[in-house]
Symmetry: C2
Subunit: 129 residues, 2 copies
Amino acid sequence: MSRTAEEQANLDIVLGMFAEVLNPMDSAAVDRFIAPDYIQHNQSVEPGRDKLKAFLDMIREQTPNAVHDVKRAFVDGDHVTVHYHVRRWPDDLGWAVIDIFRVENGLVAEHWDVMQDVIEGGPNPLSPF
Amino acid sequence: MSRTAEEQANLDIVLGMFAEVLNPMDSAAVDRFIAPDYIQHNQSVEPGRDKLKAFLDMIREQTPNAVHDVKRAFVDGDHVTVHYHVRRWPDDLGWAVIDIFRVENGLVAEHWDVMQDVIEGGPNPLSPF
């Protein structure tokens, strides 16, 4: 593995954000990980850090038992990729999600993502993960 | 940028595969980039290298003008992430796709992906890219 100390720090920031913000859906922890001028590219969430907090509050109320199960994560310079499985309730097939984050000055500054329903009975017997 | 020579080579293999296999949807070029025991995690494609060739032939016949527009790409060790926009015809809103590839011995050995429809008129005015 060829990660620099700065790359490892960037990866750790993003995985810390998963552990302390996204998985517990904790809007109160957002400011420790997300930049004030956060650039949001998710198509379904209004832009900006405050709207991210409102989104976390909403999903925690709607699906308090949701889990965000990280399968693999990578870093290249200031960009971090995370592949994970969202399940909203215990028997939910859930979503496959890949996020890309840009880290700047120790905070998540920009975010892109793609999400897709996990299916059963498709043509490929292998796991999407 | 802290990429090693091996990382840059892995990234170049994947971007070469986009240029010579995926964008032209050319099944005849598959063997130069994809390992014989290729592991496919895409939910909608049957596993294996031969089924990938059949899939490319199918989409080239169905959407001969499709483009796969790479927006950003990253490498961490033997894993490469590519974020791109698929448009099947000129005015297609298309799909946002993030692929993760594992490269082994100079060939793409494993592939995960997530894809999502690009929408118009959603709550976020920013581009998904």
